[in-house]
Symmetry: C2
Subunit: 329 residues, 2 copies
């Protein structure tokens, strides 16, 4: 294992300390590093809280700030945060308008967020994301996995929350954005959980995992390495088949790196994916390209397509000021 | 070689096409893909042009836009752009106030930018960056290499250019920012140039290259893998020894990933580096963390420290709207 770390069991803590030090203008680290919260809260705004296992940085703490989350609860690497983290985060950021949890569909996360909602002693609603079309159920999920599309839900619901939208409407909006959003990914090289010290799966020199999850869990099948165009064809094809957007639809295209894939390859994938969308008479009017929802040091990428209407565009374009996503502010 | 590509010889072209498609609001691709330029020029502003071999994305094209560059000329991977690229870029973006080249100190780049300056038929000045303290001369350089500190020069000079600063003052400013800025990096895993198809150097399982260049060229020495704290100690130590900032100085800390190193490790390095700066009575008041000046899919990171005064802080904080760096706009 070759990583820039000190103690394999202190990676999360030391990384969070660096993160908090680098972004003191935006956020604060909660006591015991149980959560990351916005430095300045907006009274009367519904509080948005997400979280999940670490190793997907910048998800979720990188999306805490104006126009997105109020708090994020980081579990240990690839391990759900515990209910007390979400309960304490809710206590810290709820200004009276209630709390909306945004939860990726994994059994551990669902269980712990549900327990937190029951025990929080305040109004809590939840949006569960499940945008990954690769497999119907998986190692850690019943039903589809929540992956990179989650950040689109966080951005759009976050923007709506800033306008004062009440909790029930925010939950409906989040569910609707999730329904309009689909993802699928491919791994070229596995990832290594620091505490384990070795890759969590193996791939031969000429193999890739098509439909991989963001913890390296299996996808649809293991196949010989293919061209970017062929990969994009399969990823975008699977997404469009499931999403069935109307011809002439406008979409947001997110090409997301898993952690060890450089921008030169990600933009090449943008080129391949856009060409396929163009060919299907789908117009890509918003782009996001980069390593936004990662799997530690896994090489590979995912493609996410989210169907846009006027409201979605306006929510996407609204100001955001977080560590990982920033514009208009 | 496992990469998201189609033809190893068309990587740059296809990646540039994806890049241009994703950022049509900011920029345009010049004819023959010879340069990337700002969509909207500001009349009477000195035009800033940079460029260099590709494979360092988002450098330089990702820094084209308001508050940074007017154009960037991408050479083939790890190969200098040719003089005609800079000449045509200058023709496209010079609005009459002259052109400032920002050039990383590599022999090929220097030769081609110098030739372009002589042949451009317009007023041209140049800033040459050489922030890498690792080695005095190297595979492709006489004198020190220009590395991640280049983006700090581009940001600060770019902000000054927006205020209407004339070309001679911009050149002085660029030289001064370069003098206040030092970097050093470490590689944990090598990188692979697509057209070569295999890693451009080898490292044993327990080795790292201390002081590596951004093309994988040798640094100070090859040593056993060490902890993040020990690595930070050596990188920051070498930088501070050379930079010799006054106690109580304010600095910008850039922890830069080389392409295959995830954010969880980079923020951990921020924590280590900041602790060392704190111990030296140097106050870190600006942070930038991410993969900003890469070496394809090399794993590892560099640390850059830039001494700040009131002007430098104001230039750093000024609005910027590029593909890779954006705030206040």
């Amino acid at each position: 294992m070759k990583k820039l770390i000190n103690d394999a069991n202190a990676v999360l803590e030391e990384s969070l300390d660096g993160f908090a030090a680098a972004h003191t203008d935006i956020l604060l680290l909660g006591a015991g590093r149980k959560f990351v919260r916005r430095r300045t809260l907006k009274q009367g705004k519904v509080a948005l809280i997400s979280g999940g296992g670490s190793g997907h940085e910048p998800l979720h703490a990188g999306y805490v700030g104006l126009g997105m989350l109020d708090a994020a609860c980081p579990g240990q690497v690839f391990t759900s945060p515990t209910p007390d983290q979400m309960i304490e985060a809710a206590e810290a950021v709820d200004t009276g308008a209630g709390v909306l949890f945004i939860v990726k569909n994994y059994e551990g996360d669902l269980m712990n967020f549900t327990m937190a909602a029951e025990m929080a002693g305040r109004e809590v609603a939840s949006v569960v994301t499940n945008d990954d079309v690769a497999v119907e159920s998986s190692t850690y999920t019943t039903g589809r996995r929540g992956v990179a599309g989650t950040l689109i839900v966080e951005k759009m619901v976050g923007a709506a929350a800033e306008t004062g939208m009440p909790i029930a409407a925010l939950k409906s909006l989040g569910d609707e954005v999730n329904r309009r959003t689909r993802s699928m990914g491919v791994a070229l090289l596995p990832c290594t959980v620091p505490a384990a010290g070795r890759p969590n799966f193996t791939l031969a020199d000429n193999e890739m995992e098509m439909g991989v999850g963001i913890h390296g869990e299996p996808g649809r099948r293991r196949v010989p390495l293919a061209s970017a165009d062929a990969i994009a064809e399969e990823l975008v094809g699977a997404i469009l088949k499931d999403l069935a957007p109307k011809q002439g639809s406008e979409v947001l295209l997110l090409v997301n790196g898993f952690g060890a894939t450089p921008m030169i390859e990600l933009y090449l994938m943008v080129n391949s994916a856009k060409r396929i969308l163009d060919g299907a008479a789908i117009t890509t009017t918003r782009f996001l390209t980069g390593s936004y929802v990662t799997a530690l040091d896994m090489a590979g990428a995912s493609v996410t397509v989210s169907v846009l209407d006027a409201q979605a565009k306006s929510l996407w374009d609204a100001p955001v000021h977080t560590a990982a996503l920033r514009w208009g502010a």
